[in-house]
Amino acid sequence: MLEWMSLLAWGDSGWSDEMVRGAGWTLLVAVISFALGIVIGAGGAAVKLSRVPFVPLLGDLYTTLVRGIPDLITIYIIFFGGGQAAMAVAKLFGYDGYIEFDALTTGVLALGFISGAYSTEVIRGAVLAVPKGQIEAAKACGMSRWTRFHRILVPQVARYALPGLGNVWQLTLKDTSLISVVGLTEIMRQAFVASGSTKQPMVFFVTAAVLYLALTSLSNKVFNRVEIVANRGVRRA
């Protein structure tokens, strides 16, 4: 036990500070990807709910692909292929240099792409939950498209989507562990490095598990709180 304590000391002799820094990276990647996912999800929901023929199929294709392909494969495709794709696009604009995504960019793009698919479904459901009569009433009041959108649709969609987005957040947070395979020193990578140099894997993977547990539990509390605040104007039976 004492040995474990010294392994986890703060500072140069122990690994606690490195592990906590790893947790910081995990949180950073999760927050950016989750935000990116919501932006993609809003677009995806718009595509899926579009009345233009064949356009919704594009949205279906996106969500089906993400939900049917392992996240690890998606991450590898973006890690190995992202740079090539970016170079091809850059060439069209006359840039001939070499482009390579770093671990953070790869992670955020991959996780944003993945969580975007789940957010698409959540937001689509939330839009459908807004009663049609409200939109008709807003039209009857003479509200323009934009006013209808930001006064009637968005506030309610945000409220309906909250519980689902909470689940997407938990998913994204846990998915960040996969980014360790491309070398970002988040919790998992840090635990791997530490156990490699000390030959004490148990301590560090337990520490990693505890850190994830803390992050998921705390963020769950935050989401519950936000839900209460968002629903303060709603009367419940």
Partner: protein, 244 residues
Amino acid sequence: MVTLFDEPANTWELIANGLPWTLTLAASSLALGFFLAVGLALLRLSPVPPLRWFAYGYVYLFRSTPLLVQIFLIYYGLGQFEAVQKSFLWPFLREAHWCAILALTLNTTAYTSEIIRGGLQSVPWGQVEAAKACGMGLGLRFRRVIFPQAIRQALPGYGNEIVLMIKSTSLASTITILDMTLIARKETSATFSIEPLFIAAAFYLAINFLATRLVMWVEFRLSPELREAKTGKTLPDQGVVGAR
């Protein structure tokens, strides 16, 4: 593990060599996990508080940490202790594939038990009372009244879990299991082409498509009464029986 193509002629055949591992990992962990999950769901609903707490804690721990941590804990973590190395379990825990199956099983048990618990709780209490009134014992009640209905209710959710587990097997590639993911990654590293990854993705999509079809078929087979309503044949009017 069997090799499908000893001398793969193209990338498709090369990736297909990882298929047996993917299927074995998914099938064995899902099968084992299902039985454990039924037990865990029953513990969760048990009248004995410590059993309930255990089930709650188990589900909470496994659902709040990433599967990758669980895999690494079992594969790297357990092996560090001499007690484990000297125990009868070592021949198993030494092998990456047993560790992968163990981690995947424990993980799916947590998620599946919640799905089954939802199913069990959806059975109306009146039916349990009626079964008691008919003189059915606990075992008979569970087998004939509660479980069949709970499974039907839980099936759509369980279908999602099957797909998630098939996807999750790809994490076994991080502890040297030569499944489709690892073969594709190695081939991509060697050839600088991402084609192998796309082929692996296509394989996973196909398996998941078949799995969802299979679940839909089972769902269809298990709910004849809904089928009749769908084909347009009208059921005799039963008053308010169907009121929800």
